[in-house]
């Protein structure tokens, strides 16, 4: 191998890396959709509990549809993404329990800043995972 092929090989490695890494934005999008969906869900559950039956199923269906579409477009899984997303799910479940407990035991019903803040809690792990995947 002479100088040129070695440089060409390194250039090809760089090209391929750029192409594969550019697809990590699908994972970022999935994380953001999940975070927004969770926040809207928990805020709505606490602020308008009587309307739950009306909005829950359509909202879950829309979210699931968007996530399925994104998942279909995901043709590369970024390094660390699988580990980060699995952790995000478990931490989010824990924070959701905190949100439900605080909303039911401490906060008055109806929309308030506190309801929004507790509603954001379960979304935080997905926002963090999206940020970590996006910055690599």
């Amino acid at each position: 191998m002479t100088d040129l092929p070695a440089r060409e090989a390194l250039a090809e490695v760089a090209r391929v890396r750029r192409r594969i890494r550019s697809l990590r934005w699908w994972h970022v999008a999935a994380g953001l959709v999940t975070a927004v969906s969770l926040t809207v869900y928990y805020v709505a559950m606490a602020a308008w509990p009587d309307e739950v039956d009306v909005f829950v199923l359509p909202w879950l269906a829309v979210t699931a549809g968007i996530l399925l579409l994104i998942r279909w477009r995901m043709r590369a899984v970024p390094r660390e993404a699988a580990r980060l997303e699995e952790k995000a799910v478990w931490i989010s479940v824990g924070l959701a329990l905190v949100t439900i407990a605080v909303n039911n035991l401490l906060l008055p019903p109806g929309l308030s800043v506190w309801i929004v803040l507790t509603g954001v809690l379960p979304a935080l792990p997905f926002l963090y995972a999206a940020w970590r995947v996006g910055r690599r």
């Binding site: 191998m1 002479t2 100088d3 070695a6 440089r7 090989a9 390194l10 090809e12 490695v13 391929v16 890396r17 192409r19 594969i20 890494r21 697809l23 998942r71 279909w72 043709r75 590369a76 899984v77 970024p78 390094r79 660390e80 993404a81 699988a82």
Partner: protein
């Protein structure tokens, strides 16, 4: 035999397999279609090179379904990642060596 080119891994050191290894090294796993489009080869040629890499213990293949459609994913094994890192280091060494001014 002191020149670093002698240490280049022959399994990786072909244009198609180099591109496959670079793609797989950039992700946890990559879908067959994306790999084929990125490397710009036919399905059959990609499969042939994947078999070579699999036999060397560098690549694992996971076949599954999403809905009714079959999906095949490829990933580097720890051995494959290590081999590719060594290969890149050797390339860097060659480039660095050739870039040095000639001796008089």
């Amino acid at each position: 035999m002191s020149h670093p080119r002698h240490r280049l891994d022959e399994v990786i050191h072909t244009p198609v397999r180099l591109s496959i290894m670079a793609a797989l090294d950039a992700a946890e796993r990559v879908h067959f279609g994306l790999l084929r489009d990125t490397v710009e080869v036919s399905d059959s040629l990609l499969s042939k090179h994947i078999v070579n890499l699999e036999e060397a213990g560098y690549v694992t293949v996971t076949k599954g379904h999403e809905g009714r459609r079959p999906r095949t994913w490829y990933a580097l094994t720890p051995l494959g990642r290590e081999a590719f890192a060594t290969y890149l280091a050797t390339l860097d060494e060659i480039v660095g060596r050739v870039s040095q001014p000639p001796l008089r």
